[in-house]
Symmetry: C2
């Protein structure tokens, strides 16, 4: 457990390091990220073995996650090297204007020391060296990570590797640190030196930290990814054309990783009176239990199931609700209900249950579907299964309003790490207008600064006339790519 | 005063209008903005006369502000027509990747109905048809403006003109509305239909509304511009070379508009032992009083002056502190103090006083200057007066950290409306990582949505393969400008 005085020392070092990191070139910081990626790749076997003992996620999934994590570090290295992220804008002086316009040059600059809270369910990709850390380091912030208690040893070993790699690559001392303990976490969010926080976790935990961040004397941005039901809509035509395939796809998606993904499809809207529920029962029949991340999560799962099963109009379609957390793991449970039952009782049915479970909701027509979708809280994803010739514009508009990623004929688990990704949506999916995955995640840790009539020598290279690095920028209103 | 049921009707209409506005093309919305600008221009004389009776700002300044406001509307029309603001990104599918990568296309979409709070000190440019309204309408949000009580008649007349112009231009009914009254304002911030708030005003007022916005069951972004001291640093070389010119420039800047600009230079750091304070006394000698915006502001001014004058080590260098608000207006007052006095008592001396006053702070060396600057709260601007051959890199770094715009050898009053402007800084200057002036202000009212494996027909034109409008976008990692 990190003490208050230890945290003070770490933030002091992080503040000094942030100044140095901000002054480093994008090329230098890109090299730091690649060094961290290389070091993690080189230690994959050790890290995967350690992670498996703490998370039960299995070596195949964990090895894939290490690759995803190091790929992410390398993507951010590419992003800062390319340079568009700086949003460089130059407006030359217009002395003849009334009033005369000065020379004005705008660029994004790093915020300073950033706090990051690790997630339970992604011990690599959303943890110590995960997306929040990588995107903050990329743009010149220093990072203090709060380890997740569910994988503390892995966190410590990962932090050692990261620290050593950064050090060898020439990054400033203090640019990265790991802390642990709940009270150190709350102190981190409230610490005057910390300028922003990234968080992945539950709605209650995230809300509590969000409230601390915004009630500081100087409120800071809190980038939380909290909870998501990830509604899926199956049209009548799609159900008629391929219900077996859809049922198998659904079961694979909601049971993946024991249903502990933030993008797990938790609500499936299906036309009433089809054979689709039977197909889901068949597809789910062969699925056994899987161990969950932590004892606390495993214990919460049957509680959540029971709460859903108690709601009027909600039936258990497949699976059994265990009396307590099973030692051999959580078995899939599928619920079925109707749109009218949800409309009568939305708050209790439209609640996320972490684990391998989903709710099939039968709708009778498009109006009822629209009405019940209007009750669904903000989500990371919204999915449409439709046939090629169907008119789905209104449905797309509605899902675009409640989710940050709208999928067609696929499943929301699986989040590509690339330039176009959007992993974030309206509250409570996330607490900001940004993504926590993909290239544009860096914008969270930057603020604009404009320089008026500044001498060339004090300007960032991307703002100098010659643009020696060929950074894309807007000059007098026109976007230029070199 | 707008009642609760009136507000409910307006938000209902605003919600419906936002859906229509989001579906309109950028070209259509650009035409709406230009129609509003044309209508305001056509009614300038009437509006200026009305504004002068309510604000005492004088016809010259007010006429200029109308031009700034309509220029701003036209700039946002250009911004959305150009299309980069959409941040369109396409990553084509990579079926051979492990795991296979889907086709993913990201774009920014409007938030929905937005609340805007008018400012007292800019009855046009930061009020009913000001920057917040213009940038929100530009991107497809609807807007409900809370009128400022200091210019209620002007607000109502402006709203009539805006509403009629939008209506004639074919914008959806309900896209714009005006409300009044303090309780309607707080209800607006808490209303479930409202998705973001823009605000320009005082620190206490802004903080109270910020707290409401972030303590909603679904917190929303609150874009507040609250307060700013706008530090100015004069180097020894600059003071030696041109103290008369600097003193005259300073007096013109801090007394402009009776010192009621958010960019008023409120702190001036000068080397100890120069003749600069005498030059300021000479320059200020000829300056008479000027009427302030409202009785409340006029009454607060002498209170603020007295509070400063009572601080140990703070002297009145020029001007007199009136016992009460003078009927012929507020006269300039210049304070002088030392960096050591500020360091001993930063909170009480480093406090904004709205009106024609500024504080000269003498520093003995660079270390003392850096130490006292470290105590200055976040500001909209930071200014450096230095000679061409001076080394100012560290000073620029420090000012970049505390302000959103760093000026060289100029004065911060006067904010150009263009692509590169940054009008926003660390708390309490603003409450977000955005600007409220200039092209990039639109990002405040947008959220990203990604479409995965979507049929062309449902995509925004900027995300279709052919890109018929030639919108700049990033395709498979490469930025393209057509």
């Amino acid at each position: 457990m990190t003490t208050t005085s230890e945290l003070n020392e770490l933030t002091k070092a992080a503040t000094a390091a942030a100044t140095q990191a901000a002054a480093a070139t994008d090329g230098e910081r890109a090299a730091w990220l690649v060094a961290v990626a290389d070091a993690l790749d080189a230690n994959t076997d050790e890290l995967v073995a350690l992670a498996d003992t703490e998370t039960h996620l299995g070596p195949v999934r964990l090895k894939g996650e290490v690759g995803r994590t190091t790929g992410q570090l390398r993507l951010f290295a590419d992003v800062i090297t390319e340079g568009s992220y700086l949003e460089a804008i130059i407006d030359h002086a217009v002395p003849s204007a009334t009033p005369p316009k000065p020379d004005l040059r705008r660029i994004l600059r790093p915020l300073g020391p950033v706090g990051v809270f690790s997630a339970s369910n992604f011990p690599f990709a959303f943890s110590v060296a995960g997306g929040d850390t990588a995107s903050a380091l990329a743009v010149g912030c220093s990072v203090i990570v709060k380890a997740h208690s569910g994988h503390l040893k892995l966190s410590e070993r990962t932090a050692e590797i990261v620290t050593e790699a950064l050090d060898k690559a020439g990054a400033p001392r203090g640019i990265f640190a790991l802390i642990s303990g709940r009270s150190a976490g709350t102190e981190l969010v409230q610490h005057p030196a910390i300028k922003a926080v990234g968080f992945t976790g539950s709605i209650p935990g995230g809300r509590a930290l969000f409230d601390l961040a915004v009630s500081r004397p100087d409120p800071i941005p809190f980038y939380g990814e909290l909870g998501s039901l990830n509604p899926v809509v199956v049209t009548a035509a799609a159900a008629a054309a391929r219900s077996t395939e859809l049922a198998e796809g659904l079961v694979a998606s909601f049971t993946m990783g024991a249903g502990q993904f933030c993008t797990k499809p938790g609500l499936v809207f299906i036309p009433a009176g089809t054979g689709f529920p039977d197909q889901v029962v068949t597809a789910a029949a062969g699925k056994g239990g899987a161990p969950m991340l932590t004892t606390r999560i495993a214990e919460a799962y049957p509680d959540g199931l029971r709460q859903l099963a108690e709601q009027p109009g909600v039936d258990v379609l497949s699976g059994e609700i265990a009396q307590e957390a099973a030692s051999d793991g959580a078995a899939p449970v599928v619920f079925s209900t109707s749109a009218s039952a949800v409309l009568a009782n939305p708050d209790s049915i439209l609640e996320e249950c972490f684990g391998p479970t989903t709710v099939l909701i039968e709708y009778t027509d498009q109006d009822e579907l629209a009405a019940v979708l209007a009750k669904v809280p903000g989500s990371l994803t919204g999915t449409i299964h439709a046939e090629a010739d169907e008119e789905v514009t209104e449905l797309v508009t509605q899902l675009s309003g409640l989710a940050g990623r709208v999928l067609f004929n696929g499943w929301p688990t699986g989040v590509a790490v690339n330039w176009a990704q959007q992993h974030g949506g309206p509250w409570p999916a996330t607490t900001s207008l940004f993504t926590s995955v993909g290239a544009t995640a860096v914008r969270r840790f930057l603020r604009p600064v404009a320089y008026q009539d500044a001498p060339e020598a004090v300007l960032h290279p991307a703002l100098r006339e010659a643009n020696p690095l060929g950074i894309p920028r807007r000059v007098d209103g026109t976007l230029t790519t070199s």
